[in-house]
């Protein structure tokens, strides 16, 4: 079952990439299409952040991950590079987990 997900997702994502190169650029002129595609990542990425940070299956939980993500947000506010942000998040979560 995992193989089916891996392959279906991969083929689908490739076709989405190919479609962009092959489709008529006129599609981009349609404001509604452009707007939806531009905004979807903001909604999905935010959803992924909170689901990965604050949930465990169907429960809302507050644990070391929340501290890690909060520390990452501070690092981003301070304009730290991506690598530092990831290290700060991991380090903070490990530290908090050891303390609680």
């Amino acid at each position: 079952m995992i193989w089916a997900v891996v392959l279906a997702g991969s083929v689908g994502c490739y076709l989405l990439k190919y479609l962009g190169l092959a489709a008529s650029p006129a599609l981009l002129e349609r404001p509604a299409v452009r707007r939806v595609v531009e905004l979807v990542p903001a909604a999905l990425l935010a959803a992924l952040v909170v689901v990965q940070a604050f949930t465990d299956r169907q429960a809302l939980v507050l644990d070391a991950r929340a501290a890690g993500v909060a520390a990452a947000a501070v690092a981003l506010l301070l304009r730290a590079p991506f690598l530092i942000v990831l290290l700060v998040a991991g380090g903070t979560a490990a530290l908090v987990d050891a303390l609680i």
Binding site: I2, W3, V5, V6, A8, G9, S10, V11, G12, C13, Y14, L16, K17, Y18, G20, L21, A23, P25, L27, L28, R35, V37, E38, L39, V40, P41, A42, A43, L44, L45, A46, A47, L48, V49, V51, Q52, A53, F54, T55, Q58, A59, L60, A64, R65, G68, V69, A72, A73, L76, F82, L83, V85, L86, V88, A89, G90, T92, A93, D97, A98
Partner: protein
Amino acid sequence: MGLAVGLYGAAFGAAATAAGLSVLQTCTLSLLMFTGASQFALVGVLGAGGAPVAAVASALLLGARNTLYGLRLAAPLEVRGIRRAVAAHGVIDETTAMALAAPNPQALRLAFTVTGVSLFTGWNLSTLAGALGSSLLGASAQVALDAVVPAAFLGLLWPRLRHSGTDRLVAGGGALIALALTPVVPPGLQIMLAAAAVGLGFGGRRR
């Protein structure tokens, strides 16, 4: 950028195996899907016990932005046939950003190719390293990794939050929808449904 991609790729490899994928399945994703956010979403939904359809749909919803990148790159890249089929695989966040920063079409094609080839190589090698290394990780490294994944998503989201109020509104809406639905829908579905927050980006403009 190389080091960050290395850590991000290793984090993906480790996260995927932690979510129950084999090393071969993990590496297949990086080779064939080759678009980080979609890959993380797919293994995130599977790891959370989500339905296969929800896992694929989350990956596709995030992958749809590559279509927009392709539309922008099609004219300056000017590729046809087999070259277009190969170039399409490299249409992702990083290659688009580097290509569109180039001053002319020749530099754009070079930037696209160089970024694409080096990212593809680094991403796949670091995925393999992460997938193989995760079994060696101790408990505290696993805790750290659990926080690195949402932090990586936050890092991808951040530039959008900084430049656009509409994106902030949509992101806030998406986060709220996802949290509110988590207790009531099967795992993974709340991420897809959060896409409805895009509607918030239309309301204000039409008034």
